[in-house]
């Protein structure tokens, strides 16, 4: 408890105040309403919900890509859509977003070019300037042997891993992952959980500095020993559960469904 009070004194990285999330496409109505959420530095959140509960739109809104239908979303203490474009772009650099599925890599570029692109665009690097950083991150994610492959020639699991490398190359302070474990086999799942745990505790790539992670999931099962904060999207409402102890103690009926062990 003491610890949580100390953390809340810092500015939250992401804050939602009575926010309502609406889908980007189509005419479906509000997906989630009344979200009050503060993401403090060095936390590790997992947000679970059944299919269609609005997890992807929730993350896109948190990343400042989508406007909330109502309420306010603050990134690093500033309200997202009142910012000037340059400032918003600068804030987005501090947030890494890994999309679900195949990670939305650019199919006309190789894996190495995909990973290098954000760095090259931001720093105006030539391909050669970016080579060193790209090699480092590809080695870290075991992708070095696929560096010159086109994304569509790789399995979706590997593509998503390349998307993680692309999101990490700018060393964001907070990493948002949309269903990273969906459709992964045992080996990939183990790799993701280990890697994210390492990032959250501080790894060499970040100079030992822990980073904040928010992941969405269909179920809490694989995450319960890795993540530290849990929340649920249920019946268009946001429901914060708390830490691991609260997760175990919670009598929420949906938790039985989303706490099933995978594999």
């Amino acid at each position: 408890m003491e610890n949580s009070e100390k953390i809340s004194a810092e500015t939250p990285l992401i804050e939602m105040i009575d926010a309502a999330i609406a889908p980007l496409q189509g005419t479906r109505s509000l997906e989630v309403a009344g979200v009050h959420w503060r993401v403090q530095p060095k936390t590790f959140w997992v947000i679970a919900g059944v299919f269609g509960s609005g997890k992807s739109d929730f993350l896109a809104t948190a990343a400042g890509l989508q406007r909330p239908a109502d309420g306010c979303v603050k990134l690093f203490g500033n309200e997202t859509f009142t910012l000037k474009e340059e400032r918003l772009v600068e804030d987005r650099r501090r947030i890494g977003l890994v999309f679900s599925g195949s990670g939305r890599l650019f199919n006309r570029l190789t894996i190495a070019e995909n990973v290098a692109l954000p760095l090259r665009y931001r720093q105006n690097f030539t391909e050669k300037n970016a080579e060193e950083s790209v090699r480092e991150i590809l080695e870290l994610t075991d992708l070095i042997s696929y560096a010159h492959r086109i994304p569509s020639t790789l399995a979706p699991n590997w593509q998503r891993r390349a998307a993680l490398a692309r999101a990490l190359i700018l060393k964001p302070e907070i990493l948002l992952l949309d269903k990273p474990l969906l459709g992964t086999d045992f080996r990939h799942q183990g790799w993701w959980l280990d890697f994210l745990a390492k990032l959250s505790e501080g790894c060499d790539f970040y100079g030992g500095k822990p980073i904040t992670i928010v992941a969405t999931a269909e179920d809490f099962g694989p995450w319960k020993n890795v993540a530290r904060q849990f929340a649920l999207l249920k019946n268009n409402r946001w429901q914060e559960i708390g830490g691991r102890a609260e997760l175990e103690a919670s009598g929420e009926p949906l938790l039985h469904e989303v706490l099933t062990e995978n594999v």
Partner: protein, 286 residues
């Protein structure tokens, strides 16, 4: 809803012929088309302005990423189309000379050959044919690749990485197409003028090269060069903007990409022809 203007059977409608002869549904149809048209023009103008602002504001930003993209666009829309342009240039020169020399001979004014070549090839058909060829070969590819990117969510991925999609996807295509259409038109015109003479030579028309080229030179004015550069680069800009707009401006589903492609072709053709008509006015004033 019942149409109040519709006549009941047997009713004499001659007294209200002024407004009721056109069925309401037809007026609705025209109205819908008109609003859709104004909406497209408005969207396109806004998109064009945004692109222009980004182009100037970020002209040195990320030059190591954007300049190679411009070069690859010039390669795709310019260099790779040289063989096709040569073929069209050859055919155009022969067709124009073939059709006109016979007529000119009949009325005995062969010394107008150069003037005709300049009016037809340099001012009108050269730029328009090149623009339509680039639209068919590259414009369609642009809508498909951008529409697919949009449908697969790659544009949101660019935004999430802090990369401006207009700067990264649209600006290189606008500059690349403007440069390509200008260069290809110059190339096509040179080929057409030469092939025109070749045709006359093969037909044993008594026309010396010196005569032909001095006719061309006297028919050309300095405004022709300036207007050719302006017109062709505007064709390139319009084609790139329309195709990028159709591919990017609204969220597409993958099955809508084919519709967006045909729409982009139709809109580009109309826009290019309208621009051509506008230039005709300039030529007439000249």
């Amino acid at each position: 809803m019942e149409n109040p203007a519709a006549a009941t059977p047997g009713e004499d409608i001659s007294h209200r012929a002024n407004f009721s002869l056109l069925p309401r549904a037809y007026l609705n149809f025209v109205g819908r088309k008109f609003f859709a048209f104004t909406e497209t023009v408005y969207g396109l103008a806004a998109f064009g302005l945004i692109t222009l602002v980004v182009m100037f504001k970020k002209n040195q930003h990320a030059s190591h990423v954007v300049h190679p993209l411009i070069r690859s666009e010039v390669l795709r829309a310019g260099v790779r189309l040289l063989p096709m342009t040569s073929f069209l240039g050859l055919a155009l020169g022969m067709v124009v000379i073939g059709q006109t020399l016979f007529l000119l001979n009949r009325i005995g004014v062969q010394n107008f050959t150069g003037t005709i070549m300049v009016s037809v090839v340099v001012r009108e058909l050269g730029p328009l044919i090149t623009a339509l060829m680039v639209l068919a070969r590259v414009g369609t590819a642009i809508v498909i690749e951008l529409g697919t990117s949009r449908a697969l969510g790659e544009v949101e991925a660019l935004e999430a990485l802090g990369i401006d999609p207009v700067h990264f996807l649209v600006v290189p295509r606008v500059i690349g197409l403007a440069l390509s259409i200008f260069s290809l038109t110059v190339y096509l015109i040179i080929i057409a003028l030469l092939s025109g003479y070749l045709f006359a030579f093969l037909q044993d028309v008594p026309l010396y090269p010196s005569d032909y080229f001095s006719q061309l030179a006297s028919a050309l004015t300095w405004e022709d060069f300036a207007l050719l550069a302006l017109k062709t680069s505007l064709f390139g800009t319009i084609i790139a903007l329309v195709t990028c707009f159709q591919g990017l401006a609204q969220p597409l589903h993958i099955e809508e990409v084919s519709g967006a492609t045909t729409r982009a072709v139709a809109h580009s053709v109309v826009a290019c022809v309208l621009l051509d008509a506008l230039f005709l006015v300039v030529y007439l004033v000249m």
